[in-house]
Symmetry: D2
């Protein structure tokens, strides 16, 4: 049995850093790499691609809104056409940096507000899918198994990879409990690790009430930008391996 472990990396900019890229690249099998618009720059992109290559980690383009100040977390009212072009630009830029660093872009995962909007809106999700399809139709897209993006990705003829979050609670509909609600975020690394193991073994999202919602699970996201990111990622990996589940890139 195997599963992928992904994390957002390379989210610095110039002198700024947020994620401990070197430490996380020793733990995850897939790295979602910021492409320079909400975070990231050619320097950090080249470093992460090169390090990921050396460690056998797959890299995905992680496009976001052009909002460095807001770290891509503000829902800026772009049209779906603008979103298509923002995504195409960033995937292309990531491919250029990958080629430069001797690695490749293996998938796409939307960042922050763009991701949240794609999980809710079939139109936004379809715009992302059109952009990916135009630039490289072989790239799969990481998305929640029960949201709008997985559906739109499949409808566009692309491959969605079902992703669950290690540190987030799920509603009875299988969506993320919104941040800010009690229990939405799981801060205890051991609890997060235990939940992941339970969900992977059950082949299901386990909701806040304990109900299993059967789904494929292609990848587990561990956040890279929280205080205990590295520790949580390490525990999740260790617990999965203890259960005989290998950590292997999905692409």
């Amino acid at each position: 049995m195997q599963v992928d472990l992904n994390s957002d990396l390379g989210e610095g900019f110039g002198a700024y850093a947020i994620t401990d890229d070197a430490a996380l690249l020793d733990i995850v099998s897939s790295a979602n790499l910021a492409c320079g618009l909400h975070a990231g720059d050619p320097e950090i992109m080249a470093r992460v691609f090169a390090l990921a290559k050396a460690k056998g980690v797959s890299v995905g383009a992680h496009p976001g809104f052009p909002d460095l100040w807001g770290f891509g977390r503000r829902r800026i009212p772009f049209t779906t056409g603008e979103i298509e072009r923002l995504v195409a630009y960033q995937v292309g830029a990531a491919q250029g940096m990958a080629a430069y660093a001797g690695h490749r872009v293996s998938y796409v995962k939307a960042h922050g507000a763009l991701s949240n909007m794609a999980e809710e809106s079939a139109e936004v999700a379809a715009a992302i899918a059109r952009a990916v399809k135009a630039v490289d139709a072989r790239l799969p897209i990481l998305a929640g198994p029960l949201g709008a993006q997985a559906q739109a990705t499949r409808a566009a003829g692309l491959t969605p990879i079902a992703e669950i979050f290690a540190d987030r609670a799920y509603t009875e509909a299988g969506l993320l409990v919104p941040r800010g609600q009690p229990g939405a975020v799981i801060t205890d690394p051991d609890e997060a690790a235990a939940r992941v193991v339970a969900m992977v073994k059950a082949g299901a999202i386990i909701t806040a009430s304990g109900t299993p919602l059967p789904t494929e699970i292609g990848s587990i996201c561990v956040h890279g930008d929280s205080a205990h990111a590295v520790e949580t990622a390490r525990r999740v990996r260790a617990r999965l391996e203890d259960e005989g589940i290998s950590i292997v890139p999905f692409a």
Copy 2:
């Protein structure tokens, strides 16, 4: 007999415009497209790629320094490593937008201060060549026939395309007379057109004193951002065609 006619296009940003892209795309055979760092954004890039495709115009990536305020004309002291990565990023982004718009990137031409530095410095020119080679080694690079960049490009195993400027005077060494010196810039469209015809027919750069310096001429640059840009480009093309010289993309 044939030659290419190139111009910098797509140099707007959001609500801002500088170049009359639609008019110039009816005249030139190659369009140097700003990649979003000194000018350009995904919207204008998509529009220019699509229009160029429709009109049979080749498009080159036109990378510059990340200096929108300075329009890429400030010599920012980047290291050669940073320059490599800046160029790789922009060529990749242009390829992404080309794929999105159903067209392709056919060559690379450095912009503004980056270009000036590459014409003078073998190290800067080599950095650009390394970046292009890593991203797509088939792409030729537009460069002055007698400057450092053509040499470095060839040394890197890439193809330089010799470019002359329609509206600039040349020193006896075959380099551009620096802007600001008397006679450096040719503002009369007819004079510019006549000079181009003379140089193409002679197969030589003609210096300020009238001396011909024999060289290949692969492409003629007409500037897109001056007041009489469209008119000059039109005259240059008309005069060349009058002489039986076809305007054909080099790549």
Copy 3:
């Protein structure tokens, strides 16, 4: 009888220009000056302040969202606290540039999406008023006479100046007919001028159906960024002066 004529100026950025600042400064009595976040930079700000000073034109800070790409026209979901601080920053920057150029900031007018939001939302309008009050409580704020901003400005103890638009139709409620609806924008310079004269003489907004809604009119806005901006502004001024109405800054 007298009235103020205002226009948005200084909306360039680096090599980019949109407004014909020199021509408009010969026509208007008040110039709304972009402060560097949605448009404008220290160079153009210094030039406009100096030229306005020389021509006896008052200058207002014209703060907008930090969205150069969107020219401040995207409704970015900033909190009211963030809006307060964005406005305080920009008014301060404008005051610094005014002092540098030997002029002063005489009022504040919100730009684009920020202005639209302030006309609709008492909370946004109050945030702007708090910022202006903190930085310089003597500064009046230009606002539509019948929208949320005039009310919130007054409630904050600041002075709203009632502004009407020369080139826009009004609903029966005295609000702008949204762009995109038929007749929303008046493109004929003579028609715009005639409407302005009629409204100023009537002391009323005249709605699309011809109903006069009595209101103070402190200033008339002529847009600076349209194709016929200078011509429209000139006609509006000429027609007002023909009627014996002087063009005088309100502050």
Copy 4:
């Protein structure tokens, strides 16, 4: 006996942080506050001003080049006129945020490459002084006692405040040993603290060879962005107080 202790603060941007502002504001008497061009944004500026006010810490505007990616450390070839306007803009913006937060701007200190250039070039230093004089001629300027900036500041009729660095070695001419040379940076907090005490008590810069160069010392800079910044600042302050030297803002 008393001296001022200053540190660069507020050097974050959006989600990014570099300096531990809250901790440093408990130690220093003056905070140099980034103004949004090389670092900083209205949010962090408002927070630092408010916290500094609450803790009785003076705040200086800390203008730098508009180069967020380079953190203001790249020597961008701006003209002296552009530098004047960049500084005026940033000092004004800082004053706006100070007014908003109920505090005030008490002095100016140039950042990074701008500071380095001002210490070497009388023209750059004079440009900064002209800007400060225009915006608020009462503001003193922090500068090295033996460099070009102190002289140019005095020549402009403004007050230079002599600043020494706690963690940097000095040449026999009293200038900073360039980073990269052996011994240029003092990383041991105790050594830094001991040096500061020796220099303040001697009223002299002590060069690498141990020679005292007598000078006024108005302020001591402790860097805020190094790994041991807070610890070094704390030791410097403690050692000075142990010697009966009070830490008091100079302005």
